[in-house]
C-alpha cells in the first residue's frame, strides 16, 4: 500500500467519521463484508443491526427527522438493496436526508447476473434524489462526501452510493470533506428580494390571511420554526399546517388552527377556503391537502415559499413564488415588514378571527365517549394528557390511528413528530421509533400504531431489545385495517373486503417472546393506569390498546370535495355511512 492510501472499506468508515456520523443502521451480507470488517475494528461509528433492511431505512428516517442530521443506512447487494427501496421512496416523498450505502458484486461481474446482483442504481434512480455507482476507489471518498452534500442541501432527500466489493478491497487516495464542492448542484437558498418585497406588500393588504405551513419549515431547521413563531406573533395571522409540518408552530399557540387537509380541522379547512391571502411556507399543495383542485381556496392570492422550484405551480397556480430556504425567506420577510412598519387592517383581522372562532365552535373533533369500550380518540387523548411534562417523541404507522394522532396529540416543538406522509408507508413507525430512541436515549419515544401496520415491521422489536431502546409501541387495536374499512363503508357499500385481520397475534405474548414487556388495556377505566405503567417501564413495551372496532375518523373531506364540504362525525351516523359520498367521489383515490 502506497503511503496515505487506504482500502475502499477504510475510506467508507473514515468518510463517515469525518462527516460526523455516529450511527449507521444496517444489515450485513456478502457484498459489504469488507465494510463490516472495518466497522468491527473501529469505535467512532456505531452500527445498529436491524432485522430487515426496510427497518434500517425507516430507523434512519426517524433518526434524521428527530435530530435534523443525516440518516445513514448500510445494506448488502441484491435483496439488501431491494428491501431498502420502500424506505428510500418514503424518504424521497417526505424530503428526509439519508445516505444509503449498498454493496454491489465486484465490478467485473456487473451485468453477468451474478449471485445477489441487481441493478441497484437502475432500481433506485427514481426513488432517490441522486445515486452513484462507484467504479474506481479513487472516486470513493469524493462521492461519499458529495452524497452527504446532496442529501442534506436544498430540498433534502435520500442518496444511494453503490460500492462494488472489489472497490471496497482496492486501495486508493482519501480526500476529506473540506475539499468537496459540488460541480453542478447548488440549490438556491437566498430568495429573490423583489419577490420578498412583493410578498410582504401583498400580506399587508390582506383582510383574511392564512399561513399554510409544511414539512419544509421543519427541514429548514430550528431557526425557521423560531422565525415562523415570530412572524405569527408580529402579524396575528391564523396558521395551519400539513401533517408533515406539525410542531413548527406550537399547538398551544393562540393562532393555531390545527392541521388542515383530508382529516384536518374544520376551522383550518374553512379558513383555507375563505382566505384572501394564502402564505404557503414549505408545503406543496398535495392532493390530501387541496381537496378538489378547482374549488381550492377560490378567492385567494397565493404566495408560495419553497426551496424546490419544481414545487411551484405544480398543481396550484400561485401569484408570488419565492424560491429559497424557509428560514432565509422568513428572516427577510420579517426584516422588510419591520422596515416598512407594516400592519394588517386591524378591524378586518378581528372580523376574520371572529369568523374562525365560529368555525372552531363546531368542535369538529367531538366524538361519542363510551364507558365500556375505549374509543380510539380517547386513548390518544389520554396518552397525550399523561405524557405532558415529559420529553416525548411520537412516531406513527399509517391509517386511522395516524390521523387521530395528528388530531389529538398536540406538538409544541418541531422534530417531535415522525410520520410517513407522502408515501403513507404502513410499518414506518416501529423502526422509526428505534431510530428516534437511538438518537434520544433518555426520551420517551412512542409509536402510535395500528394493529395491521405494526405487523409489517414487528421484527424490529428484536432490535429494540438488543440495543436496550425502550420504545413504546402503543397499538390502537381495532382488529381492522380501519382506514381501509372506513373507505369501504363510505365508498363500497359496506362490503368489508379483506380488511378484517383474523388471527391477530396475542400482542402481550408476542412482547414476551421478544423479551420485552406486554401490556393490555380493555376498559376505559383501566387505561390511565396502564399508560402510566407503560411509561414507568424502562424496557421496550408492546401496548395492546383494545379499542372500539368500528370507529371512523372524522372530520373528512371526501375525495372530490372542496374544503368547505367536510363530512363531520355527527353528520354520518353509522347507518348512513354508505351514502355519504356521491358516485363521482367514489371513483377517486
Amino acid at each position: 500500500m502506497a503511503t496515505g492510501e487506504m482500502t475502499g472499506a477504510e475510506i467508507v468508515l473514515k468518510a463517515l467519521a469525518d462527516q460526523g456520523i455516529e450511527h449507521v443502521f444496517g444489515y450485513p451480507g456478502g457484498a459489504v463484508l469488507p465494510i463490516y470488517d472495518e466497522i468491527f475494528q473501529q469505535e467512532k461509528v456505531k452500527h445498529i443491526l436491524v432485522r430487515h433492511e426496510q427497518g434500517a431505512t425507516h430507523a434512519a428516517e426517524g433518526y434524521a427527522r428527530s435530530t435534523g442530521k443525516c440518516g445513514v443506512v448500510l445494506v448488502t447487494s441484491g435483496p439488501g438493496a431491494t428491501n431498502a427501496v420502500t424506505g428510500l421512496t418514503d424518504a424521497l416523498m417526505d424530503s428526509i436526508p439519508m445516505v444509503c450505502l449498498t454493496g454491489q458484486v465486484p465490478t467485473h461481474l456487473i451485468g453477468s447476473d451474478a449471485f445477489q446482483e441487481c441493478d441497484t442504481v437502475g432500481i433506485t434512480r427514481p426513488c432517490t434524489k441522486h445515486n452513484y455507482l462507484v467504479k474506481d476507489v479513487n472516486d470513493l471518498a469524493r462521492i461519499l462526501h458529495e452524497a452527504f452534500y446532496v442529501a442534506t442541501h436544498g430540498r433534502p432527500g435520500p442518496v444511494v452510493v453503490d460500492i462494488p466489493k472489489d472497490v471496497q478491497f482496492a486501495t486508493g487516495k482519501y480526500v476529506g470533506p473540506k475539499n468537496i464542492e459540488h460541480k453542478t448542484y447548488r440549490p438556491k437558498v437566498k430568495p429573490d428580494q423583489e419577490a420578498i418585497r412583493r410578498a410582504v406588500e401583498l400580506i399587508a393588504t390582506a383582510k383574511r390571511p392564512i399561513l399554510y405551513t409544511g414539512g419544509g419549515v421543519i427541514n429548514s431547521g430550528l431557526t425557521a420554526s423560531k422565525l415562523l413563531r415570530e412572524f405569527v406573533a408580529m402579524t396575528n395571522i391564523p396558521i395551519t399546517s400539513t401533517l408533515m409540518g406539525l410542531g413548527a408552530y406550537p399547538a398551544s399557540g393562540k393562532n393555531w388552527l390545527g392541521m388542515l387537509g383530508m382529516h384536518g380541522m374544520y376551522e383550518a379547512n374553512m379558513a383555507m377556503h375563505d382566505c384572501d391571502v394564502m402564505i404557503c411556507v414549505g408545503a406543496r399543495f398535495d392532493d390530501r391537502i387541496t381537496g378538489r383542485l378547482n374549488a381550492f381556496s377560490p378567492g385567494s392570492k397565493k404566495i408560495h415559499i419553497d426551496i424546490d422550484p419544481s414545487s411551484i405551480n405544480k398543481t396550484v397556480r400561485v401569484d408570488i413564488p419565492v424560491v429559497g430556504d424557509v428560514a432565509h425567506a422568513l428572516d427577510d420577510m420579517i426584516r422588510v415588514w419591520k422596515a416598512k412598519s407594516l400592519a394588517l387592517d386591524k378591524k378586518a383581522l378581528e372580523a376574520w378571527w371572529k369568523e374562525i372562532d365560529g368555525w372552531r365552535a363546531r368542535d369538529c373533533l367531538r366524538y361519542r365517549k363510551n364507558a365500556d369500550v375505549i374509543m380510539p380518540q380517547y386513548a390518544i387523548e389520554r396518552l397525550y394528557a399523561l405524557t405532558r411534562g415529559k420529553d416525548v417523541y411520537i412516531t406513527t404507522e399509517v391509517g386511522q390511528h395516524q390521523m387521530w394522532a395528528a388530531q389529538f396529540f398536540r406538538f409544541d416543538e418541531p422534530n417531535r413528530w415522525m410520520t410517513s406522509g407522502g408515501l403513507g408507508t404502513m410499518g414506518y413507525g416501529l423502526p422509526a421509533a428505534v431510530g428516534v430512541q437511538q438518537a434520544h436515549p433518555k426520551s420517551l419515544v412512542i409509536d402510535i400504531a395500528g394493529d395491521a401496520s405494526v405487523l409489517m415491521t414487528m421484527q424490529e422489536m428484536s432490535t429494540a431489545v438488543q440495543y436496550r431502546l425502550p420504545i413504546k409501541i402503543f397499538i390502537i387495536n381495532n382488529q381492522y385495517m380501519g382506514m381501509v374499512r372506513q373507505w369501504q363503508q363510505l365508498l363500497h357499500g359496506n362490503r368489508l373486503s379483506e380488511s378484517y385481520t383474523d388471527s391477530l397475534p396475542d400482542f402481550v405474548k408476542l412482547a414476551e417472546a421478544y423479551g420485552c414487556v406486554g401490556i393490555r388495556a380493555e376498559k376505559p377505566a383501566e387505561l390511565d393506569g396502564k399508560i402510566k405503567e407503560m411509561m414507568a417501564t424502562p424496557h421496550p413495551v408492546l401496548f395492546d390498546c383494545r379499542v372500539a372496532a368500528l370507529a371512523n375518523c372524522f372530520p373528512m373531506i371526501p375525495s372530490g370535495k372542496a374544503h368547505n364540504e367536510m363530512l363531520m362525525g355527527e353528520d354520518v351516523p353509522d347507518a348512513e355511512v354508505g351514502s355519504a359520498i356521491d358516485a363521482k367521489g367514489k371513483m377517486l383515490v
Partner: protein, 186 residues
C-alpha cells in the same frame, strides 16, 4: 384559478378538456456521468411527459459535459414543470427553453434510402437537388441521400420520397442552439 378543471370534480389533476399544447425545444447541459441519459428519460416516462425527439452527445470532452436537446409537447404549465424538474437534477448544469428564448436554430440530419428506376429515379434526384440533399451512396437501383435542415423540411423531403421508392430512413433527432453571442452556462 384552476377553473379549467371545473368539470372533473376530482381530487386529482384529471383534465377532461385539453388546454392547447405547445411544442418546445429544450437544451440541457449535463455532466457526462454514467446514467445521466437514463435519468432524463426516466424523468419523462415517470412523470408522463412526451419526448418527440431527444439527442445527446458530449460537447466538451475535458469538462465531461454533454448537451441534450429535447423536443417535447405539453401545456405551458407542463413545459415549465419539465424545465424545473430537469433543472433540479443533480448532474444538470443548466436548462434553456430555446423556443421561448427567441427563434433558435434547430437542425436535424437524415439519411434517406430510395430505390427505383426510370422516371422515378430522375425525379428523386431532382427533388434532392431542390432540397440540397447530397447523394452519399449511389447504385444502379438506389440512392442514399443525406439531408440536413429543420425537422419539418426533413419531414417534407421524406414524404416526397414515399411515392418515389422510399426504402428506409435514419434520423439523428434535433440539435438546437440559440442565436447570438451568448452561450449556455456550464
Amino acid at each position: 384559478m384552476n377553473a379549467h378543471l371545473a368539470s372533473t370534480g376530482s381530487a386529482y389533476f384529471l383534465e377532461t378538456s385539453k388546454p392547447a399544447v405547445e411544442t418546445h425545444t429544450l437544451s440541457v447541459i449535463v455532466d457526462n456521468e454514467p446514467g445521466v441519459l437514463a435519468r432524463v428519460i426516466g424523468l419523462f416516462s415517470g412523470r408522463g411527459y412526451n419526448i418527440d425527439s431527444l439527442t445527446v452527445s458530449e460537447t466538451q470532452h475535458e469538462k465531461h459535459v454533454s448537451r441534450i436537446t429535447i423536443v417535447t409537447t405539453g401545456t405551458p404549465a407542463v413545459i415549465t414543470q419539465i424545465i424545473h424538474q430537469l433543472d433540479r437534477m443533480v448532474p444538470v448544469h443548466s436548462v434553456a427553453d430555446l423556443t421561448v428564448n427567441g427563434n433558435a436554430l434547430t437542425r436535424e440530419l437524415a439519411m434517406v434510402k430510395v430505390a427505383g428506376s426510370g422516371e422515378k429515379r430522375v425525379e428523386a434526384l431532382r427533388l434532392a437537388d431542390a432540397f440540397r440533399a447530397r447523394v452519399i451512396d449511389a447504385g444502379t437501383q438506389s440512392f442514399v441521400f443525406e439531408i440536413t435542415g429543420k425537422p419539418d423540411k426533413v419531414d417534407q423531403f421524406i414524404s416526397l420520397m414515399v411515392p418515389l421508392g422510399l426504402v428506409e430512413v435514419a434520423r439523428t433527432g434535433v440539435a438546437g442552439i440559440a442565436r447570438g453571442a451568448e452561450g449556455m452556462r456550464v
